[in-house]
């Protein structure tokens, strides 16, 4: 068996084509003036956010991006203009009623410390008057969705969770009542870079399944490029400097302001545009818990590998094992999960993969797909090739539409 390339073209065979559950949002000439201030905080912004897409609002601090976001769920009341969600004008709708149907995620998650994880998630369904059994089922479903074991986490209090876990609960809470629209205000701003990368990957994975309309505020342009279907770059007063796909913005910045905001090294930023799913994955030697170690050793030796990635019953990677550890007859009966296993998802960027590799002693990083299942590995050579490809003008061919 030679080194087989795993192509991901047939990935969606996993499930049916996801439906778009989101609704479009239209900001129509929206302005916010604060009393006693001459210049409006948001000056006549008109922006259409298509259903089922992630739109990133980026800009320097004080440009009005958060104000713009908060006017969509009317935490801040617009002074002028209309806001439509779907075809409904929500500008004068009862704000509490409106907000129960708009998910809202803030920085640091904003979980209520006196409520358990389950009760935090159950909040909006309870406000909507769901019955108990339905709420309970939904909480379990939401925790599974964000990869937190319900039995283990439902009854914990927020302070017993790490920052990343809290943020995941925050997303679960926002999605609990299945709102068509999700507003995210710098949600991943307060976590460490590795956790942030994982949360971003998870959001992209969720979005593949859910197809919500997501408006996401960030000041991090790399995050915008990674997550956004479209990016709106805002100047002071929420004036839109450019509103386009990340590819188009990187290729053709509309003006000097945008150029300045993208910063130098735009070519390297292209690495952020290339997803792990866009490159050819390699196959590592694989063994499953419960397999015969001798056979696993034989298979690995045939591939010429010294390490084997062990998968659990659900096909999720557990840890790398060296061949010498596999020579014990009970080596595969019980394998502990390596919590620090370097892994990226198909939605991760090559930039993320490179980051992970730099902490890995193997020069490879495991790639997981839906539900955390093993898909293959990315090798450092693959990233290097991609970088060379990006630097040559012919790299357009390598770009895959998302």
């Amino acid at each position: 068996m030679s080194e087989t390339d795993v192509t991901n073209a047939d990935l969606p065979a996993d499930g049916p084509e996801p439906q778009v559950h989101g609704q479009r949002i239209l900001l129509d000439g929206v302005t916010k003036r604060y009393p006693g201030q001459k210049a409006p905080a948001v000056d006549d912004i008109t922006l259409e956010i298509p259903a089922g897409e992630i739109v990133m609002l980026v800009g320097p601090s004080g440009c009005g991006k958060t104000t713009t976001l908060k006017m969509i769920n009317r935490l801040i009341e617009p002074s002028e203009g209309r806001i439509l969600i779907g075809d409904e004008d929500v500008t004068h709708k009862d704000p509490d009623e409106l907000r129960r149907h708009v998910g809202y995620v803030i920085q640091g998650a904003g979980l209520f410390p006196h409520l358990t994880v389950a009760k935090n998630i159950a909040l909006v369904p309870r406000l909507l008057g769901w019955d108990k059994a339905r709420i309970e089922a939904r909480v379990t479903e939401m925790l599974e969705l964000v990869n937190l074991e319900p039995d283990q986490y439902a009854s914990r209090y927020p302070r017993e969770l790490s920052g990343g876990q809290q943020q995941r609960v925050g997303v679960a809470r926002a999605l609990a009542a299945d709102p068509p629209v999700l507003l995210m205000d710098e949600p991943f701003g307060a976590v460490d870079p590795i956790t942030r990368q994982r949360l971003q990957d998870e959001l992209l994975r969720l979005q593949e399944e859910l197809r919500k309309t997501i408006v996401f505020v960030t000041h991090d342009f790399d995050e915008a490029v990674k997550l956004g279907d479209r990016i709106a770059i805002l100047q002071v007063g929420s004036a839109i400097a450019q509103y386009d796909t990340p590819e188009a913005i990187l290729a053709n910045p509309a003006n000097e302001f945008v150029e300045g905001f993208i910063g130098h090294g735009a070519a390297l930023k292209q690495l952020t545009l290339t997803r792990v799913r866009d490159v050819d994955l390699h196959e590592a030697a694989v063994a499953r818990v419960g397999d015969d170690p001798a056979q696993a050793v034989a298979a690995a030796e045939e591939l010429g590998r010294e390490h084997v990635i062990v998968l659990d019953g659900a096909g999720r990677p557990l840890r790398w094992l060296p061949l010498r550890a596999l020579r014990r007859p009970d080596a595969l009966t019980r394998v502990a999960r390596d919590e620090n296993l370097e892994s990226v998802s198909l939605a991760s960027t090559l930039n993320d993969a490179l980051d992970e590799m730099l902490t890995s002693s193997h020069g490879v990083v495991v790639v997981t797909g839906r539900r955390g299942r093993y898909e293959g590995v990315v090798r450092i050579e693959t990233v290097m090739e991609a970088m060379q490809g990006l630097q040559s003008p012919a790299h357009e061919a390598g770009r895959v539409t998302r």
């Binding site: 209520f112 017993e160 590795i194 620090n340």
Partner: protein, 266 residues
């Protein structure tokens, strides 16, 4: 593959540290709670024993019987509790009101006025109440309440203002009404601070209730008053010690209630 980096490692550390602090702090608090209860019960027990066995003159004996000590202590306890109830009923709604939008600007002046209540000599307040509303329990309880309102009022305002504004915004952003946000987010999170204020007021008022002896309101102050007037030092000292023991006991009781009322997870 054994480099210990990544979020999982930090998560474990975070888990471990939170649980240790929680477990490490609890026994200390429990130790203090038990110690305080034992101390005040011991003092009170010693007083009861003294009253029962001491060789007393007939005047002393009339003032220092076991039943009289118990009755006066109970009266004293009720006086303090009645005043505390009045304070809670007045100060908590008022404090909440002072943290709501347009009323917020009155928060500083009203807290200052409440500060006068505490700064004024308690004996003055009590005598004024007695002059205008007569002697007896009710005017006395009212005067005590004026004296004890500040810590509760101030702590309600501080406690609610101290709730992380992002949590309030998260609650509103999820569609909770202003009232529901107050009841389900702001008040539960402010409880520890509010309860500290209530406890302070209780202890203050238990001590101050000793002045009830001067205005015929009953309580252990009667013993102190009698002791002073008749020059019976032992009556005076028994009364004073009993008041101190009662104040410690009420402080203990309030701590227990505080611990029970504080939501888990804080």
């Amino acid at each position: 593959m054994s480099i210990a980096t990544g979020p999982a490692a930090t998560e474990d550390v975070a888990d471990a540290s939170t649980t240790t602090t929680a477990d490490g702090a609890a026994p200390m608090r429990r130790g203090r709670a038990v110690g305080q209860l034992v101390a005040c019960l011991a003092v009170f027990g010693a007083l009861l024993v003294y009253v029962a066995v001491a060789d007393l003159s007939s005047v002393e004996a009339r003032n220092l019987s076991t039943t009289r000590l118990l009755t006066l202590s109970w009266q004293h306890f009720l006086l303090a509790m009645a005043a505390a109830l009045l304070v809670i009923v007045l100060a908590i709604p008022l404090g909440i009101l002072l943290t709501r939008g347009p009323m917020r600007r009155f928060s500083t002046p009203i807290t200052a006025v409440a500060g006068f209540g505490q700064a004024a000599p308690a004996i003055g307040l009590i005598v004024i109440a007695a002059l205008y509303f007569g002697t007896g329990r009710f005017p006395f309880v009212c005067a005590l309440a004026v004296y004890g309102i500040l810590p509760v009022l101030a702590n309600v305002v501080t406690g609610i203002d101290g709730v992380d504004p992002r949590l309030v915004e998260a609650a509103r952003g999820m569609g909770m009404s202003a009232f529901s946000t107050l009841v389900r987010v702001e008040l539960p999170l402010a409880i520890p601070v509010i309860m500290t204020g209530v406890r302070t007021a209780l202890v203050l008022m238990t001590g101050t209730a000793a002045l009830g002896g001067f205005v015929n309101a009953g309580g252990l102050g009667t013993l102190v008053n009698t002791g002073i007037k008749l020059g019976l030092d032992n009556v005076l000292i028994v009364g004073a010690l009993a008041i101190a023991a009662l104040a410690l006991f009420i402080d203990w009781l309030a701590r227990i209630i505080e611990m029970a009322a504080t939501p888990k997870g804080l």
